[in-house]
């Protein structure tokens, strides 16, 4: 199902429908056998129905997968990020054994060698700052200083090249000496602008970048093969498409860090609002990097710094929501589907997020610890919702507890469609019996 020639003249609803149809009809995928193809279509259809708030033939079930496949296969978290053979084996085994209705991409487990080569500082990863059997974790710092909002806003790309990247990647440290590329105006200026690139320590940064590029390319090829094998042999669609972030989270997660950002909400309110607005077009552009016609049109947003305990509803409305909403509306206009992962809880925000400017059926809301009965009350008929199966139960509960909790959630939430099951937080550890019970209870629920 190729992209319609008149795509640009379609309405947002029609665009979304066309993108979902192309996904269900798997443009560009060749299956290992007809059974897998049918199974893929059926499952993609279940999700597409749910996303559009229809009642699916049965409630689909997903597993938000952290490092669980590696523990399960007897490998370490470090293996996941350093050994693509083990990565492939663990991902395949996990999907074959548990068969959720959607496949998790191996692309989540990025190559440790590349991070090492770049001396990346925003995260610690297995064997590099955290133990080998622990997932990667954010090691926030003030990579952007409090008085640099202005510099960032005046030219975000220049700020990234000459200030942010040299701080967050040790290998690019010398880039702080580079002149701005906007100086390369006319013939007389060219050689002067080139001078720094002749210096050995600057050249070294490019050698490292080229090596990181080669390693990433090699890794990406292997990851694509792993994903393709799972999708085409098991018939599991990948429902998570592109990636973006709420602009406030770009400032809070990437640039300033949680603590500094919280102080900024008192001290630098105006600058936060302006910077968040400045970030909107970048976050609208970002998901298209991973999108091709026929892949899932969902755009995954992990939402962090706007959670209940992190700010008041008033501050959420003023500082977090407007720029975030602007990004969503632009994507919705183009038929893309914002897929919002609410980490922590949004119990105090449910009336705020159900904003009448956001068209019904155009977003997916995935909750971590929000009260799901309240979610249903607020979101039903406006958007698809999912989540809050406690990951703690999959590790520490009994099989009966898991079945009971699944059934309770399904009874409470699934009746009118627009709902699918997924655990609330990415799963690093679990009891395999519990995870089987989780998947099977949902699949057999009618």
């Amino acid at each position: 199902m190729p992209k319609p020639e008149n795509f640009e003249s379609l309405t947002p609803d029609q665009k979304r429908q066309a993108r979902l149809d192309a996904w269900i009809n798997h443009e560009g995928i060749e299956f290992k056998d007809p059974g897998a193809e049918n199974s893929y279509r059926e499952r993609a259809r279940l999700f597409a129905d749910v996303f559009q708030m229809k009642k699916p033939a049965r409630v689909p079930v997903a597993i938000a997968t952290g490092f669980a496949p590696f523990h399960y296969a007897g490998y370490s978290c470090k293996d996941a990020m350093y050994d693509t053979d083990k990565l492939g084996k663990a991902m395949k085994k996990f999907h074959v054994d548990f068969m959720p209705d959607t496949a998790a991409s191996a692309g989540l487990y990025v190559p440790g060698q590349v991070l090492e080569l770049l001396d990346y500082k925003l995260y610690h990863w297995p064997g590099h700052g955290v133990p080998e059997n622990t997932s990667y974790q954010c090691a926030e710092a003030e990579f952007m200083k409090a008085d640099e909002y202005g510099a960032y806003m005046s030219d975000p790309s220049d700020y990234f090249i000459r200030t942010y990247l040299p701080r967050v990647m040790g290998a690019l440290g010398p880039w702080k000496e580079l002149p701005p590329f906007t100086d390369l105006l006319e013939l007389p200026f060219i050689p002067w602008g080139m001078l720094p690139f002749g210096l050995p320590h600057i050249q070294e940064t490019f050698k490292k970048l080229m090596k990181a590029g080669e390693l990433s390319l090699e890794w990406a090829g292997k990851v694509a093969a792993i994903d393709n094998d799972i999708v085409t042999s098991l018939g599991l669609p990948v429902y998570q498409g592109g990636f973006s972030k709420a602009p406030y989270d770009v400032i809070g997660d990437t640039l300033r860090g949680t603590r500094a950002m919280m102080l900024d909400t008192f001290r630098r309110k105006k600058e936060i609002i302006e910077a968040a607005e400045r970030i909107v077009p970048f976050m609208v552009r970002m998901p298209y990097g991973a999108y091709r016609w026929g892949s899932s049109p969902t755009v995954f947003f992990p939402l962090h710094k706007g959670a209940d305990s992190f700010m008041s509803p008033k501050v959420f409305k003023e500082l977090y929501w407007p720029s975030f909403k602007a990004v969503m509306l632009e994507l919705i206009k183009d038929g893309m589907i914002p897929f919002l992962f609410v980490e922590g809880s949004y119990n105090q925000r449910l009336d705020l997020i159900t904003d009448p400017d956001i068209p019904a059926g155009s977003t997916i809301w995935y909750f971590d610890k929000t009260d799901m009965k309240e979610v249903k009350k607020h979101l039903e008929g406006w958007a698809c919702f999912s989540g809050n199966f406690p990951s703690s139960l999959l590790k520490t509960g009994t099989v009966d507890q898991v079945k009971e909790h699944c059934t309770q959630l399904l009874d409470d939430l699934a009746g009118n469609g627009g709902y699918y099951m997924v655990n609330g937080a990415v799963l690093d550890e679990m009891n395999p019996e519990n995870l089987h019970a989780y998947v099977e209870t949902v699949k057999s629920y009618r």
């Binding site: 952290g66 490092f67 610690h124 700052g129 955290v130 133990p131 059997n133 622990t134 997932s135 974790q137 090691a139 949680t258 603590r259 919280m262 102080l263 909400t265 008192f266 001290r267 209940d308 305990s309 992190f310 700010m311 008041s312 501050v315 922590g344 105090q348 406690p390 990951s391 703690s392 139960l393 590790k395 520490t396 509960g397 937080a425 990415v426 799963l427 690093d428 550890e429």
Partner: protein
């Protein structure tokens, strides 16, 4: 006591609060009374937090105001002056092995401290043996285990078990908290309780040491 200072801190008016503290000190107000005012203000902020009327950023800014005012007061305290506040009890606190998250832990430690506990903060990614050693040395009534990830479940369980093995479990109450923790995990780790936030940790600890 300066009601004005208390109000400014409670209302999150940082600049004015710090300026007023400076002015009061210049006027010769007893330096320790400023710290008492800050503590009073933080008590009110803590209550508001527990009631869901204010949030983590307010706790962090309050801590920041206390830090700034504290730094002004300190040089003006006569050497050896200023009696130690009577402590309610001792707590050993840390983020468990393999987990490097510190923000929530820092807030809980801060609120426990403000509420009258002597807290030994072991930091993040704390090995099981270090908890055991700290309990032996510091003799706390309470041990607090913080963790953000599902991967913290087993280190929490192992830490509690190590206290059992060292014969120390009966001497302490253990509370857990953080991102993916809940009552289910507390039972799994054989902790005494799960606390959902900083004020819950204060309430639990006060209950265990028999303070109001």
């Amino acid at each position: 006591m300066s009601q004005e200072l208390i109000d400014l801190v409670v209302d999150m008016r940082e600049e004015e609060a710090v300026k007023l503290a400076e002015k009061l000190l210049d006027e010769g107000v007893e330096p320790l009374s400023l710290l008492d005012d800050c503590r009073t203000a933080l008590g009110i902020i803590g209550d508001r937090f527990a009631a869901g009327e204010c949030f983590v950023p307010e706790l962090i800014l309050a801590g920041e105001m206390l830090r700034q005012i504290g730094a002004m007061v300190k040089p003006r305290l006569a050497a050896g002056g200023g009696e130690e506040q009577k402590k309610l009890g001792r707590i050993v606190f840390g983020t468990v092995e393999g987990d490097i998250h510190d923000i929530a832990k820092d807030i809980v430690v801060f609120m426990l401290d403000i509420n009258g506990f002597e807290v030994m903060d072991l930091g993040v990614d704390v090995p099981v043996a270090k908890f055991v050693e700290a309990v032996k040395e510091f003799k706390p009534q309470v041990v607090g285990l913080s963790g953000f990830l599902t991967l913290a479940y087993d280190p929490m369980k192992n830490t509690v078990q190590a206290l059992v093995d060292a014969g120390l479990r009966d001497s302490v109450k253990v509370m857990i908290g953080g991102g993916q923790m809940d009552d289910q995990v507390a039972a799994y780790a054989k902790a005494d309780a799960y606390g959902k936030d900083a004020m819950a940790a204060v309430t639990l600890s006060k209950g265990w040491v028999g303070a109001k």
